[in-house]
Amino acid sequence: MVDTEVQYSIATESRQPIADSRIAVENLSHAYQQRQALDNISFDVSCGEIFGLLGPNGSGKTTLFRILSTLMPVTAGTVRIFGHDLATEVRTIRNLLGVVFQHPGLDTKLTVVENLRHHGHLYGLAGKALRHQISELLERFGVSDRATERVEVLSGGLQRRVEIAKALLHSPRVLLLDEPTSGLDVTARRQLNEHLGMLARTENILVLMTTHLLDDAEACNRVGILDEGKLVAIGEPDELKAKVGGDVILIESENRETLSDVISERFGFSPVLTDNQLRIECERGHEFVRDVVAAFPDEIQSVRFGKPTLEDVFVKLTGNLFT
């Protein structure tokens, strides 16, 4: 009796139309003593979307993640999650959030099912409804056959899937993930991104993840690029890449400075100097490559030619290398 009631309430809750199904961040800032970790950030994310916060280490991603996941208070600016103010309605918001941390959040000495069961209890799930939910999620994430094994014997990729299953246990409307693909191999990473994409589409969940991996960001519907606490760009990956325009040519050379000067003199481009290479954006890049190699056959060690990536977007916008 109680079980069916619980199940019923979960089902209706997730079907209820919610007027404002977004995360709306406005003028959010956060400082640690001297250092400004987040500087006047504003963005919106809607349901059914995978939003990636891309930035190098120390760009403020983790601070933003900790604020959104209710671990750190909002000190300046406002954050509204599904219409609820993060500063005052923490309890309501916590029910809406599923959170996956960068560091493993599973008890490795317990089995997969035990981890999920305890987590379910925290959200007031119990009995048949909880068991049903657990087996369904494990099935969906392809870990049913490992359900009674201890978490410590599972591979990194499987553990991460269990973590996501755990975060989805109480049918949250928002899934927050901090560097979800770190420590995973290429295959596991791709699978994870596919899973997240499916979740956003079929369950209409809002997925927000932080990442420093360009591949992950490419898999998102929209990306926000963070650098030194500032949101320097926001948009669909293709849209952002279109900003760079044309092609990107990377040239490695022993004497970059002189080469840079000569190139700008002769071709009229202004190359960006980075640690070990020259970076040039131009239309009809293949012609430029042909000409530049012909002109400086001795100075150039290698040339890379390609369409712009999100890394190029980052370099263009910040003038820094993405490291």
Partner: protein, 228 residues
């Protein structure tokens, strides 16, 4: 355990608690102290995990769940208390060796007092652990604060005959009363009592209870301020 037998036997030749000159030897005097030490260690060690678990581990998930902090701390405190109590009860089996004769009252009372002590000590550990961002820091506090609290509780030596400043320190040490409560409960059904001058039963129980409440409130407060 080993601690108790080695130190207890070693010192029993030269040491007799004042006021019980003809009574039981140091081993008997030291026994409740050892039980309290075991309670202290077990409850405190149970709380060290909070330091790491808060950054990586199951606790992260608990912190973002819609569960109030006071319930989280309560659960942690009960966890530590259970562990410590199990250890304490095991040690209690050795009590008859020291001349303690148990009746139903003294057994129940002793277990009850042990539970109170374990609860208070676990909360004390939580109070510290929730503030710490490294386990090294925790160990420093442990050596600086927790071991002296135990040493000066009358576990190791009675307050009679020690220098004035030390006697005063012992008087303001909450664990002195916890230990006294435990001694009283152990010997509840025994006529020959193996302790010197210690605080009376009601006062001891009162302060121990107060200690539990204060450390719990303190731990909850710390947990709430540290992580939103």
């Amino acid at each position: 355990m080993v601690f108790w037998i080695l130190i207890g036997s070693g010192l029993s030749a030269s040491f007799r608690p004042t006021g019980a000159a003809d009574g039981p030897d140091y081993i008997a005097y030291f026994y409740p102290g050892i039980v309290v030490l075991v309670l202290l260690f077990t409850s405190i060690f149970a709380t060290i995990s909070v330091v790491n678990d808060r950054r990586e581990g199951f606790l992260q998930g608990i912190l973002v769940a819609p569960v109030p902090r006071w319930r989280v701390v309560m659960a942690q405190a009960f966890g530590g208390t259970t562990l410590a109590l199990l250890q304490g009860v095991l040690l209690l089996l050795l009590a008859p060796m020291t001349g303690i004769r148990f009746g139903a009252t003294s057994i129940l009372l002793s277990i009850g007092v042990m539970a109170l002590l374990a609860f208070g000590l676990t909360n004390l550990g939580l109070l510290i652990a929730w503030r710490m961002d490294s386990t090294q820091g925790f160990h420093a506090i442990m050596n600086l604060l927790l071991i002296p609290i135990w040493l000066l509780s009358g576990a190791f030596f009675p307050s009679t005959g020690v220098p004035g400043w030390l006697a005063w320190t012992m008087k303001f040490n909450p664990l002195t009363y916890g230990l006294a409560a435990f001694r009283h409960s152990l010997y509840f059904d025994t006529t020959a009592k193996a302790f010197g001058e210690i605080p009376p039963w009601t006062l001891s129980m009162l302060i121990t209870g107060l200690f539990c409440v204060l450390t719990y409130v303190g731990a909850t407060f710390t947990a709430s301020t540290q992580a939103n």
